[in-house]
């Protein structure tokens, strides 16, 4: 179950990394109309009750919607499987990743990117060689935050993936489950495990950042 939680949380984080980085970059650079609406929409899962998000997802994946119908015709079952766990985690973590990454991109001096262009780099190369290395720390913080949020996901998961031990039960679901069954000692152990995992994730990120800072100032 610990392995399942780690794997789904990691999978969800990897899944949202490319679209999250793109969305963050767009928000950091785009200044035109509609920016406010876009920002609000992207932040919505942060403030909505996770159960509401879960319910919306459940409806969207139901057989009556075009998306649900298409998935069913392809023989893909999402609801109440591990895929639903990953989906719930991804949706709930996405805004956190975007927020951190966006701040990180905004802190990169655009003139440096422009200079990279005058030195012969195309837009993609300038992003890879200047923007990314300079925004690296903020991005990493966003990834750790998203991963930790995914690990702790409860509300949306329980709605679309259920709480099936051995199939869709994650750590945070199991803590609740055991507590409900009166097995507080087990619940406490699992809470301890999540604490240790969260600590390890944060500490690893810190370690990377410190090492990088030391190299940069050497």
């Amino acid at each position: 179950m610990i392995g399942f939680s780690l794997a789904t949380a990691a999978g969800a984080t990897l899944l949202i990394l490319p679209p999250g980085v793109l969305a963050a970059l767009a928000l950091a650079r785009y200044q035109g109309p509609g920016k406010g609406v876009l920002e609000t929409l992207l932040a919505l899962p942060l403030v909505l009750p996770p159960t509401a998000v879960g319910l919306l997802l459940l409806e969207a994946l139901g057989r009556r919607t075009p998306l649900g119908g298409w998935l069913a015709s392809q023989g893909i079952v999402v609801v109440f499987t591990w895929k639903a766990v990953v989906l719930a985690m991804a949706v709930m973590s996405f805004p956190l990743l975007v927020r951190s990454a966006r701040t990180a991109f905004e802190e990169v001096d655009l003139r440096l990117v422009g200079l990279a262009r005058t030195l012969g780099c195309g837009p993609v190369a300038a992003f890879r060689r200047v923007t990314l290395p300079l925004a690296w720390r903020g991005l990493l913080a966003g990834v750790v935050l998203a991963f930790s949020r995914a690990l702790g996901e409860f509300g949306a998961t329980v709605m679309i993936a259920g709480n099936i031990p051995g199939k869709t039960q994650t750590l945070s679901l199991a803590i609740f489950h055991n507590n409900q069954l009166g097995r507080d000692d087990r619940a406490l152990v699992l809470a301890g495990v999540t604490t240790a995992l969260a600590f390890a994730a944060l500490w690893t990120a810190e370690w990377f950042t410190r090492r990088r800072t030391r190299r940069a100032s050497a």
Partner: protein
């Protein structure tokens, strides 16, 4: 050759620049806010909204009528901003080698020209202002640009450092032979480096020409920072450490004593600057005064300029003449009875003379 015919909308006005510039260094001067940096950014491709055309060696960089603007990476224009703009996450070596077209040979010779050897493994955070500028220059040079844009590369440095960076700029000019647009506020830099000057004011080109002629024309440069009226090309002759003076030869065969400038080797070309109000006028041969430089001249023009009177004086004898601009009070004109055609003596303290 670079051909510019641009209209650039800025915050409060539109900058109009039409100019054809040959190789060598062109200094771009003008008051703050006259659009100098914006012009460089438009040429580099970092600023949108420019209307008109920019051609570099016959290649079209911008032609708004045809809706065409080359991407910055396709222009082959090197840009060094005022603060150097080094990539903070890379060593000096990686900065110099950053350019997509920076081959090993170009990188090596850029490093050699700017003497970066000892700095290469350091990050920008640990470099001084002057060192950063040298690294940024090398980074631009290593891409073998067709045009180099330098935005006040010495402005952020203190006076002592400027003198140490200037020789590097001269080397870039003379060894790389890359055409340069050089934005500066400093008359001395413009004269020392540039063969051509573009003077911007109120959103247009006020004057173009040889820097020396333009800057020595009274009234042309009214910017307070440029208030040096007498500029003469000179050549360092001898140093007198005991007397604390350096003797500089002027074109008319005259000499002028300046405060000891031991770092200028004899034979070196320099520019001598004297403010018009620092020149003393005397009707007879001045005797027993401390001023080291005394010249016999004839007044060729006399005009009231604001609260002062400006005299133009030419050397009394024949031959190549130096024209002096002298500013005195109306009271001095009256008490000395000064008039056009009179012969007077000009006295200049050596400490009123600057080498720029």
């Amino acid at each position: 050759m670079i051909e510019i015919d641009l209209e650039l909308p800025l915050a409060s006005f539109a900058l109009r620049v039409a100019a054809r510039l040959d190789g060598g260094v062109t200094a771009v001067m003008g008051p703050s806010g006259s659009g100098k940096t914006s012009l460089l950014e438009a040429i580099a491709g970092l600023r949108r909204g420019a209307k008109g055309r920019i051609l570099l060696d016959g290649r079209v960089l911008v032609d708004s009528a045809r809706g065409m603007a080359l991407a910055p990476e396709a222009r082959r224009v090197g840009y060094v901003p005022q603060d150097a703009g080094l990539f903070p996450h890379l060593t000096a070596r990686a900065n110099v080698g950053f350019g997509a077209r920076a081959d090993a040979e170009a990188v090596a010779s850029a490093i050699a020209t700017l003497e970066l050897g000892p700095l290469l493994e350091r990050h920008p955070a640990s470099l001084s202002g002057g060192e950063k500028q040298r690294v940024a220059l090398a980074r631009a040079l290593a891409t073998r640009p067709r045009l180099l844009l330098l935005d006040e590369p010495l402005a952020a440095l203190d006076v002592g450092l400027r003198g140490r960076i200037l020789p590097y700029l001269l080397r870039v000019r003379d060894e790389w032979k890359t055409p340069v647009l050089y934005v500066t506020h400093n008359v001395g830099e413009a004269i020392a480096l540039a063969g051509h000057l573009l003077l911007l004011r109120d959103g247009r080109v006020e004057a173009t020409g040889a820097p020396f002629d333009l800057l020595a024309t009274p009234g042309m440069v009214t910017d307070a920072a440029l208030g040096v009226e007498n500029l003469f090309p000179g050549r360092v002759r001898t140093h007198d450490p005991e007397g604390g003076v350096t003797s500089v030869e002027l074109p008319a065969g005259q000499t002028i004593a300046v405060p000891l400038a031991a770092d200028c080797a004899p034979g070196m070309q320099v520019t001598v600057a004297v403010r018009a109000e620092d020149v003393i006028v005397s009707k007879g041969v001045p005797e027993g005064i401390s001023a080291r430089n005394i010249y016999e001249v004839r007044i060729t023009a006399l005009s009231r300029t604001g609260p002062d009177v400006t005299l133009r004086c030419a050397a009394a004898e024949g031959g190549p003449t130096l024209e002096w601009i002298v500013r005195v009070t109306p009271a001095a004109v009256t008490s000395l009875g000064l008039g056009v055609g009179q012969t007077v003596f000009l006295a200049v303290k050596s400490h009123s003379v600057r080498l720029v």
